[in-house]
């Protein structure tokens, strides 16, 4: 029994380490089988990440400018982070206000609920038609999306705050506004960060679609042009960039989440819940 346990332990570790190399090997084999036209192999893609970063002939031919991937990567990254953060901050504020003043809540909850049922990209054709395709309009869609999701998440999270915390703070002399700042905010922060983490992944996706529908810069624009050209290697490089950027934001948010929840009694060792 003991030796069996030990060997199982080693096998699992081995499997964990092997997972990425094995997947890369499978990729390579698939690429050989399908032909590098249908599936460029992983070496091409990974090498291409670096070589196309600052300049790329193919990209230029596709119509995406002659500075390589860099301006597009930066553009998408900035648009998503700025838009999503702004929308979320507004959402938290609105959520707190709506929870405090019931009349405001009655007034706003119908439009918010209706707007939430519509897929966020549905706003893109209308806004692009009415207001043009500038960066501001693109940001507006992401801000709208994040606002709508975070408002509801905030209101739910506030509803989950045990009322005793607020009463306790009142008996220690806090005013109602102080209670919002000192009690409600720290208490809802973990739940909000969790929602933020999940939401921003979707925001990345939406941003790419928005850019594909009309933007001067951004990975979506790259996808649009490279799709027309059927340049699969560039498409894959773009996809890898999206994954890297999304991974970076997730890592950073994970750190924030860890910090914001260090006071919580964690029942399970698996800290990350999506």
């Amino acid at each position: 029994m003991k030796t069996k346990g030990r060997s199982r332990f080693q096998l699992c570790d081995l499997l964990k380490v092997l997972s990425i190399p094995v997947l890369l090997a499978v990729w390579h084999l698939m690429s050989l089988w399908l032909g590098s036209y249908r599936l460029p192999n992983e070496i091409t893609v990974l090498k291409g990440l670096f070589t196309t970063l600052f300049s790329s002939e193919k990209l230029n031919m596709a119509g995406a400018g002659d500075h390589g991937f860099w301006p597009h990567v930066a553009a998408t990254f900035l648009k998503v982070t700025a838009g999503y953060t702004l929308g979320s901050l507004l959402g938290v504020l609105a959520g707190m206000l709506m929870k405090m003043h019931k009349r405001l809540r009655y007034f706003l909850h119908l439009p918010i609920d209706v707007l939430r049922t519509v897929p966020p990209i549905a706003f893109v054709p209308i806004l692009f038609m009415l207001l043009g395709r500038s960066v501001a309009v693109q940001l507006a869609v992401i801000v709208l999306y994040s606002f709508l999701t975070i408002v509801v998440n905030t209101m739910n999270a506030i509803g989950n705050v045990p009322p005793i915390y607020q009463r306790y703070a009142l008996t220690l002399g806090a005013s109602r506004t102080r209670v919002q700042r000192d009690v409600i905010l720290p208490c809802i922060l973990p739940e909000l960060l969790g929602a933020f983490r999940v939401g921003i992944i979707w925001a990345w996706g939406y941003q790419v679609i928005i850019e594909m529908m009309g933007s001067e810069h951004g990975l979506g624009k790259v996808f649009y042009h490279t799709k027309l050209m059927n340049a699969l290697d560039l498409v894959l490089i773009g996809v890898v960039w999206v994954i890297i950027l999304a991974g970076v934001t997730d890592l950073l948010l994970g750190l924030f989440w860890g910090r914001a929840t260090r006071w919580q009694e964690k029942v399970k060792s698996e800290a990350v819940k999506r």
Partner: protein, 294 residues
């Protein structure tokens, strides 16, 4: 008494809200009609949406496989309705197929992840990576691999649904009270039996809580794929309407999306309620129905 007064106040504010929105809408529509050449198309009044834009849908009769080649059909309510019906069917079938594939694979892989040590170890890093991939961004990839075929759209939707269901299944199993497993093993249930007869029914309440988000995702994924490249479907209608600068048609289709989303949700909730009829009423799942994440 207090509750009734509260409900009346709520209704009052909701009506005020709707009234204000309609007022602003009509105001903007009038402004657009006056100041811009195509203004009445760009920002139509609600009345014209219901009448003119609805009839404009008939212009799409000839495209996308419905009554092919039969262009120039006179606009009528019947034609418009058949346009709506046809494209709804095409979109819906794609979503349904993708949803079924995604949900079943997602639940299966989720259970496998918790049940089998080796699968768990091998897929732990890839699973983590897959969970942060923005699924929408992969649309180009799917289109490049599968061309413009139905398979491409269906698999795109299926993949998006798969990831969401996978993550939620793993979380749901982790949230099961540990006593379930202990109890079933003292009754002689092996691992497979446990997952099939205990864990699977046990996670349905929590999964049904995520249903709203997943259904929303399915419709969003389908809309995105139809925007980018499709010959038919509701998303295609929106794209064409944009080319003709006809906001009214877009609004009608969006309205349809809302209706369809609500309908599919209702059906799925019914199904989940039936599957969880053993649950005591007080203990509803942790996710509230308006906690949409993503």
């Amino acid at each position: 008494m207090k509750a009734r007064k509260r409900n009346r106040e709520k209704l009052l504010f909701e009506l005020m809200s709707v009234f204000l929105i309609v007022l602003c809408w009509e105001g903007l529509a009038a402004h657009f009609a006056k100041s811009y050449e195509n203004g009445s198309y760009l920002f139509p009044s609600l009345y014209s949406v219901l009448t003119r834009s609805f009839l404009n849908l008939s212009a799409f009769y000839g495209m996308g496989g419905l009554g092919t080649g039969n262009y120039g059909v006179a606009p009528s309510a019947f034609v418009s309705l058949s346009v709506i019906a046809y494209h709804t069917a095409r979109t819906f079938l794609r979503i349904a197929a993708g949803f079924l594939i995604g949900v079943s694979l997602g639940i299966f892989c989720g259970i496998l992840y918790k049940a089998n040590r080796y699968y768990h170890a091998f897929t732990s890093i890839p699973s983590r990576i897959v969970s942060i991939v923005p699924q929408m961004a992969l649309i180009t990839l799917f289109l490049a691999w599968f061309g413009d075929s139905e398979a491409g759209y269906i698999l795109f939707i299926a993949f998006g649904i798969f990831v969401a269901v996978y993550i939620n299944t793993v979380n749901a199993i982790e949230n099961l009270p540990p006593v379930y497993h202990k109890f079933s093993s003292t009754l002689g249930a092996g691992k497979a039996r446990f997952y099939w007869s205990v864990a699977l029914p046990g996670i349905i309440p929590e999964l049904s809580g995520c249903m709203k988000m997943i259904v929303g995702q399915a419709w969003a994924l389908s809309m995105a794929s139809e925007f980018i490249s499709s010959q038919n479907g509701l998303g295609r209608i929106i794209v064409l309407a944009r080319q003709r600068l006809d906001t009214g048609i877009i609004l009608i289709v969006l309205f349809l999306y809302v209706i369809y989303t609500l309908l599919t949700l209702k059906v799925l909730y019914r199904l989940c309620a039936y599957l969880t009829r053993w649950q005591p009423q007080m203990e509803s799942s942790a996710q509230t129905t308006n906690g949409k994440k993503g």
